[in-house]
Symmetry: C2
Subunit: 880 residues, 2 copies
């Protein structure tokens, strides 16, 4: 038997999405449960794939199937494609498995031709209606099935209106429309090189091919790439008998949500237009009416519709987005689907449905998009003001939120402005660790360079601070204090506003609205925490961030970077003295100066974290990051440090590296200068002993970064433990602690078994692992990575979402080897991927104990971790 | 039964090296085949390992075994340890599996004490001899077994000589020596805190422990690390009855090689001293006699010795290095081992032994150290002049050879000096691709920065040019044109000399000696080529290097870098115009200028290579490498290019990268600017078509660098093939060609199956793979990598010899995945490791088709590849 490529609606159901597409499966389901759906059929996604195998041609057996199903529709309605007196008209719509804007959407009124248009005029007794339908059909068909630019049709319409002195479309008479039909056919002849096809079957073949082809048009491909939809899913084609909302005052059409998609309120929400076709509602030429008004106009149809909405929501157990048409007082349902909603509404609806016993908590958890929580946690711009303001540039949405303030080009100017009580925006080519205090003081950060994991982006996300990065169209001159966006020039002190969720940059000072978290949010997140098994920690370097993260549900600190502490104004002189020292003895003095400050840093963080674990990474960046590079700054520093300018310059030159990312940093520093890590280990433990006296027991986890070989860890660990034992002896008291390592170098993954024998824990540094695994520097990849995504070479930026195929394989290998060699090993991840939902799911599957992410990503990671469990148990249920 | 830890010589044989050590096994072998060896026994290497398990103590069962064997020796000789009248004296020597300088060597005359020294005086009727033996014993014992500084004994000896007015040691009388013995015992009491042990068994225990302990002293550990000897092999201890070469005019001692160790000539080569102990020959106080003179002095002993040497060489099938002593006209053999030899001699001896039917060609091949061939291929300094010259600094031996000339600090100054007919040395902090013409013109290159795979090192090795890199004690000021080495200052134009094989830098202009290759070398290398299965190609960018490599036996080019061609004076302006262009159209013009030059480059290389394959890597470095960075140079360039200085500076800034190694380079350039690779592909193919017209068919292998994902290769390959097909169409002619990729990014190894489906070949770029796999930049690792080796964290620099455990695993994975997915896939390696013998063996085992290395490493790689096969078949034979 031939393969079946076409299904009548009554042959399908809602679980046949992958074959019939979402729209087709829902039309089938509604048909089966007895809702008033115009009859029709679906050409399957498999047919689409075969279409591409057949070099974009339809094959005979398929056309045969289509004709058979067409025959059944004709039979059902007593109309016929080939009967000009009582013509059957059809709509043709694409229907992919996942809703996909960018593909061909709809052709209405297919089947009309020069003959049947007259039949339609007669059977409806409405010539104007018939010719208006015909000219709309030709225009749509020409546009989407024959690729004739829409503007030609629009121009012809305008010309016709002008020539007859018509003000609007509705002023055109039947005769005018007849002439317009001839104009349109002329355009098609001219542009397409063939006559507009009069044979309805020919029209249908054209339309099906057009839908299939639109699967691979550029917009659709881009959309799939952005939403990680595989290219081989294909689209289905839905062919359905037309019903007409534009047949007079007893007809109409509309769209409604079963609940409010903005707030989640359980109240029908929608709009309709009388005497109109669906496209008119969307086009916005006439202002639609609020759905409740339909009750007054057509009470019976309204009640019937309300009934249908209840039935559908109950049936689908989710808020539905429903299209309907009333043809001469008779209600037809043309589409239903889960309604798109704000995160706010998503949570409200999910919680309401659980409380009404409609869905389980697991299902509720799967209904909310983790990334959407971002909307709820950050301030946003006032919508009205935003509408009035122009976008001057667009960069990467590096860290969400809204910020406005005066621009400054140097970190210390930002700090000074902040001290004066001004709101300031730090604008830089790219930030560096020297800018840290300015970043803290700024409302938001704007850079011209760098990607989603550039310094500015990572630090800003860590602080939950709005940041737009890599805004390459801006010309920033830090020396002159100017920023150019196209023809506009901004100077120090001018106001701008940043939207870190979209990457948009605005001129001026836009008003902000603070986020409000609903009671449903709390309920929802408690369910999330009940189900998930993966712990969520935070990356935090200071008590403020730690506190924020705990409020967002962090269960510990997974990464406390210590380098930012070294940059603070009160200690950078000591740090620099240490770097300039020539002997270990000379390094001891400044280290002794820094020790009590580091101890205090840790003590304050422990206070916030109470009994939660705190993972502290020992110093990681290369030492030259702590020295200035500008000759002017070097001169100044030499003066304050009482060394000769030449000596300082020599040391700066000596420390210069060609590739600092691959240079003398991480535990390599400790191999050369063990005393630095010893000081830090001492500060960590002394602070823990101090807090123990306060009655608070903390478990410090000391993390040694950048290990590539087990011997490195052995060497550095020995130094650290020696120092810690000295502290215990001095204080005659002990605390528990762990010593572990970052796994962030590819080789470490391959030797993870040997390393695990020396480590209490692994924390995957997936940023560096991605950098080294791909051979990309995150600071430099910005210049070419976007082209990789644009040219479809990469499906996404591997710094945004973990590359599971390559880098993920390294993580899996290391997790497996590590656990085998040391069953007690804790596994976590503290790269930026810890806050990316798809990556979180991967880490859950890989069996990690926790993810760690910046404070504002904590709720997102919690939800993603819960969804991973919910998805597993859904899949398990399916398997049974 | 207790484990056996002690073997009498007659219980062992030469195959028991791993248990008895090299020396012990050979003493046993000689004993068994009936040579006159003083009796004795060996404490095994297993005992050494157990000694460490027992916390560096000897255990009772072992002491019992030692005593039993001692008893047998006493029995055999009719002497006794405990018999003061006829005392047995012993020597104690270490004996590891591999000869290892740095360990405790020898204690002679063990067994002497205050009583037996008198017995010895009586039995030899030579009191002076007895006390001289005793005082030597105490000194040696105090030094090596009790760790009393040798200088104390020397001072006491000098003081004694002074007090009695003795000019030399031999002027001391028996009475003087008796007093000296008391002085020595006093020193031991003072320094060691205990009396010098009088009990011979106690002395023996001390001595055995001292040998075992010396296995783990610092020098021995360093030696093992350098020679890749495992730490757990342990050392054996040989205890042997003393014989005396210093018992008067019928006694003597000497050392001889069965052949000349410098030339390989088949003629006994050695020296001896009458009336002396072994140490006197080494000490150089008396000048030894040429061995042939022994014939005149003691013809019988001489003949007997010659006989023994023949017997030993026949037995061991190799040139032997033999120690002998004649005690009162009786010959004793104290040691035999394979003689160390120059590479020149090694080849001569191996070839002679094969031609005499003594060994097989395979055995011959295993007898020559591959790295030693370096000596034969490069000029060396005149030995006499070298002795008179001081080393002023020592860097890394980055590229072997000897060079001398005037120093210049800028590449163009070197080029100018060369044009004037001067010999010039290029001295730089570190070289960059801009320096390439200066490097070509220089006699040698000296840098202060960078490791064994820094730019200078890699390029110099590629050219076979002498280079000393990373000479960190030098203070080079390129601006001022000065170089400081300690207190010495050198200015532009001063002469220095470099030894690239040792890393030594000398002041002045030392005379050089050119290498001469013997006939035996040719014979030997022909055997090498017969046996090996791994092909050896070369890395060469120009006809000169290609020619050199072909002369050295290269079978193709494995890596022809194209970036050096871009730097040449006649094309760099066009390259820069291309980089500064804003559109593809603007880039086309300069590319059109470069095309014919590139075509000519390839054409000339093809001419040299004849029918050998040529792998050409498309442009790899980031574009900013082609632009100047110095503001002065930018100003100048802007003038000549007719662009504004600001515009040029802007472009330079825009192209600046934080980590160029991980930046916009390799195939990433071609994703952005496909026209560059298209031009290169066209040049490669047009040149191949041109040479085809000459009647020469070449197989160009086009290599796309830095691929991290199969999609990258697909994208770039499509561009390349399109261009090639255009050329074929234009010229109406075709040639065969391959398109493959470098595998140099860790992720590419993990996705090698997918990549292999798109590639004709893989060439492993193990330099970058090492850099990215370890997260080390080769340009920066110099500052800390030496500490890793010093502190025993790494056993060697992974840029020198491939890290088989980590990076090697990536290579294996990629080779396996690649071959499985594409059985036709060619596999090669073009990193620096292609010329490292241990790495070559690894690549052979991993199943690669070829290695590629710089021209001067080609013979080394050929030999290493042959040894890999020879070793395999030796192992297979052992298994049978």
């Amino acid at each position: 038997m031939e393969h079946k490529y076409v299904y009548a609606f009554e042959e399908g159901n809602k679980d046949m999405r992958s074959l019939m597409g979402g729209k087709g499966a829902n039309l089938a389901e509604m048909t089966v449960i007895g809702l008033p759906v115009p009859p029709g059929f679906t050409v399957t996604t498999q047919a689409c794939n075969r279409f591409y195998e057949e070099n974009e041609e339809l094959w005979d057996a398929l056309l045969q199937e289509v004709k058979e199903h067409l025959g059944k529709v004709e039979e059902k309605l007593g109309k016929s494609f080939s009967d000009p007196d009582n013509p059957l008209l059809m709509s043709v719509r694409s229907g992919a498995v996942f809703s996909m804007p960018g593909m061909m959407d709809t052709i209405l009124n297919l089947g009309l031709n020069d003959e049947s248009v007259q039949g339609l005029a007669r059977s409806t007794d409405n010539e104007r209606f018939a010719y208006d339908s015909y000219r709309r059909f030709i225009q749509m068909f020409g546009d989407v099935a024959m690729e004739v630019p829409k503007s030609y049709f629009d121009e012809a319409l305008e010309a016709r209106k002008e020539s007859v002195g018509a003000a609007g479309d509705t002023d055109l008479t039947a005769e005018d429309l007849k002439a317009l039909v001839e104009d349109y056919k002329q355009i098609i002849r001219r542009e397409f090189g063939e006559e507009f096809p009069q044979d309805p079957v020919e029209q249908l073949k054209f339309a099906i091919k057009a839908v299939f082809k639109s699967w691979n048009n550029n917009r659709a491909r881009v959309y799939r790439r952005l939403h990680h939809i595989p290219d081989d899913l294909g689209t289905a084609v839905n062919v359905q008998a037309m019903v007409f909302g534009n047949m007079g005052d007893t007809s109409g059409t509309g769209v409604a949500f079963t609940r409010n998609p903005a707030t989640g309120e359980n109240k029908l929400f929608g709009e309709f237009l009388m005497n109109a076709q669906g496209e008119d509602v969307v086009a916005g030429i006439r202002t639609p009416n609020e759905i409740s008004q339909l009750k007054d106009i057509m009470p019976k149809a309204y009640d019937e519709f309300v009934n249908v909405t209840h039935k559908l929501e109950e049936h689908y157990k989710d808020m539905q987005d429903i299209e309907f048409t009333i043809e001469d007082e008779k209600l037809f349902i043309l589409q239903t689907r889960s309604g798109k909603r704000t995160s706010h509404a998503a949570i409200q609806v999910a919680v309401d449905l659980v409380e009404d016993g409609v869905i389980s908590k697991e299902e509720a958890i799967l209904r909310v998009e983790p990334d959407g929580l971002n909307q709820l946690l950050h301030p946003t711009f006032d919508e009205e003001e935003l509408k009035r303001t122009d976008v001057i540039a667009k960069g990467l949405p590096a860290s969400p939120g809204a910020a406005s303030g005066k621009i400054y080009f140097h970190a210390d100017d930002v700090a000074a402005a902040n001290a004066r009580g001004e709101r300031a925006i730090l604008v830089r080519q790219e930030t560096s660790p020297e800018d840290i205090e300015g970043m803290v003081a700024a409302q938001g950060i704007l850079t011209a360079r760098g990607g989603m994991t550039s310094h500015a982006a990572v630090v800003a996300r860590g602080m939950g601070k709005c940041c737009v990065a890599g805004t390459s169209t801006l010309r920033i001159n830090e020396q002159l204090g100017t920023m150019r966006a196209g023809d506009l020039e901004f100077n120090e002190g001018d106001y701008i506003s940043l939207d870190g969720s979209t990457g948009e940059v605005f001129a001026g000072d836009i008003k902000k609205v603070d986020p409000i978290l609903s009671g449903a949010f709390g309920t929802f997140m408690s369910w999330v925490d009940d189900i998930r098994t993966l712990k969520v920690r935070t990356n935090a370097d200071n008590p403020r961030d730690a506190k924020q993260a705990v409020q967002f549900g962090a269960e510990g600190i997974g990464l406390c970077r210590t380098e930012h502490m070294f940059f603070m104004e009160d200690r950078i002189p000591a740090v620099r003295r240490m770097i300039l020292a020539n002997t270990q003895e000379q390094r001891e003095e400044p280290l002794q100066k820094i020790l009590p400050m580091q101890r205090q840093d840790f003590y304050e963080i422990y206070q916030v974290m109470e009994d939660r674990p705190v993972t502290i990474r020992l110093l990681d960046p290369p030492l030259h990051e702590f020295l200035p590079t500008d000759p002017e700054d070097i001169r100044e520093l030499a003066l304050t440090m009482h060394v000769s300018e030449e000596e300082l310059q020599d040391r700066v030159n000596e420390l210069h590296e060609f590739n600092p990312m691959l240079g003398h940093r991480g535990c390599r520093l400790a191999v050369t200068y063990p005393e630095i890590y010893r000081m830090q280990a001492r500060a960590i433990i002394e602070a823990a002993l101090l807090i123990k006296k306060d009655g608070n027991v903390i478990l410090p986890e000391i993390m040694i970064p950048l290990v590539s070989d087990p011997n490195e860890l052995v060497y550095v660990k020995k130094e650290v433990i020696e120092e810690i034992e000295m502290v215990f002896e001095e204080q005659n008291d002990r605390v528990e602690y762990l010593v572990g390592t970052m796994i962030e170098i590819p080789r470490a993954c391959l030797l993870a078994d040997e390393i695990a024998r020396e480590a209490d824990f692994f924390s995957f540094g997936t940023n560096d692992l991605t950098q080294m695994g791909y051979g990309f520097s995150r600071d430099d990849a910005g210049t070419f990575l976007h082209e990789y995504v644009d040219k479809n070479i990469f499906s996404n930026d591997p710094f945004d979402s973990l590359d599971q195929k390559g880098i993920g394989k390294l993580v899996e290998t290391a997790a497996k080897l590590g656990r085998e060699a040391n069953p007690e090993l804790h596994l976590g991840i503290c790269g930026e991927h810890g806050g990316d939902p798809r990556s979180v799911e991967f880490f859950h599957r890989t069996g990690l104990d926790y993810v760690s992410c910046s404070p504002f990503r904590v709720p997102i990671a919690r939800l993603a971790a819960a969804q991973a469990v919910a998805r597993e148990s859904t899949e398990t249920r399916k398997d049974v």
